[in-house]
């Protein structure tokens, strides 16, 4: 029997980040609404014309109004589906490309940090959520760099000499303590 207490509690969490998921939801809603509006406009005018034409023509070889517009409706529904799906697919691909670009830049930035470059900005691209995330990474790198530079200048000052043994020892211990605080 599985011990539920040992399972990670966050495995079933569905993260909702309005800044990231919100614009995507709105963009899909806009596509669906636009598709629906175009469908309504086209079908309305076409149906008006077809029913009027059918009434005037006079050969009523159909049982219902649906029989008159069956093919027309099928084509318009197919058009609606294809139009909305293709536009939605383009949006998905754009989202994926933006995510790859934004997160790719963040990954590159962290890799450069591992090589010692803590100052080149991340520059994560057009989606604001990734921009904010990039700024957070830059702030973290900047804090680390500031801490290292401070330690470095203190080490250089101590190495230069001209300090009393007591003060040297105190500053030496303080320096060790500061180094321990890097990447805790």
């Amino acid at each position: 029997m599985k011990n539920r207490a040992l399972q990670p509690p966050w495995s079933r969490i569905r993260y909702v980040t309005p800044r990231f998921q919100g614009p995507a939801v709105l963009a899909f809603a806009a596509i669906i609404a636009t598709g629906g509006a175009i469908f309504w406009k086209l079908v309305d005018s076409e149906f008006q014309r077809v029913f009027l034409h059918a009434a005037i023509r006079g050969h009523y070889a159909f049982d219902s109004a649906y029989d008159i517009i069956r093919d027309l409706l099928a084509w318009h529904l197919a058009g609606l589906f294809v139009g909305v799906f293709l536009t939605g697919s383009v949006l998905v691909l754009l989202l994926v490309a933006a995510t790859r670009h934004g997160i790719g830049k963040a990954v590159d930035s962290l890799r450069a940090s591992a090589d010692g470059d803590l100052s080149t900005p991340t520059g994560t691209g057009p989606i604001s959520e990734f921009g904010r995330f990039g700024e957070k990474i830059d702030a973290t790198r900047s804090d680390t760099l500031a801490s290292i530079l401070k330690i470095r200048s203190e080490a250089a000052a101590l190495a230069a000499g001209g300090i009393s043994p007591e003060e040297f020892r105190l500053r030496w211990d303080e320096l060790k303590h500061r180094i321990r605080r890097i990447a805790p």
Partner: protein
């Protein structure tokens, strides 16, 4: 679809995830169009009255009712499709939003000085190279920190000898540490 595999440890977003998203969207939109069809079918498939004049009038009088029928049908379609697509977006995109949220928490912890553990995302989450790149950076920093502390500890061992040697070794160690730190810019 050949996006940058930034970390060299696999793609940021798997093709399977993208195809899964497209497939779900396809089913979702098809369902919406299907519902629109059903509404219009049941509305328009009522039999027309029997004789010639009645059929003529029924067809002529259908036009005024057609516009609201179509408007309501399209509105129902739009609401259902938007609702299900929104749910789908939240469900699918949490595999990107979740890791981002977790990384933000880790970065906040790191900045506040809280001990940082190795970051790992849930299985099935996207942008895994982000965690690997962060772990690589923190690992490098920790290795460097250990090297600097070891250099200083080595210098402290000379304090068992005379004071002058101890001080000279410590100053030498400090110069070495400062030189080593120059790699960070």
């Amino acid at each position: 679809m050949s996006g940058p595999e930034a970390a060299g440890n696999g793609p940021l977003i798997h093709r399977r995830y993208v195809f899964g998203l497209l497939l779900r969207l396809c089913v979702n939109f098809a369902g919406g169009v299907g519902i629109l069809f059903v509404i219009l079918y049941f509305t328009l498939s009522r039999p027309l009255p029997g004789d010639y004049a009645e059929v003529f009038h029924a067809l002529r009088n259908l036009s005024p009712f057609l516009r609201p029928i179509l408007a309501v049908s399209v509105l129902v379609y739009a609401l259902l499709a938007c609702g299900s697509t929104s749910a789908l977006c939240v469900y699918i995109l949490h595999k990107v939003a979740g890791p981002l949220y977790r990384m933000e928490l880790v970065l906040d912890q790191y900045r506040s000085g809280t001990p940082t553990r190795t970051v790992s995302f849930r299985s099935g989450d996207q942008i895994q190279p982000l965690a690997q790149a962060f772990n690589l950076w923190i690992g490098t920093l920790r290795r460097d920190r250990l090297r600097w502390l070891t250099t200083m500890k080595d210098a402290e061992r000379h304090c068992l000898q005379d004071e002058a040697t101890c001080r000279a070794q410590m100053e030498e160690a400090l110069r070495k540490v400062a030189e080593d730190m120059a790699g960070y810019h």
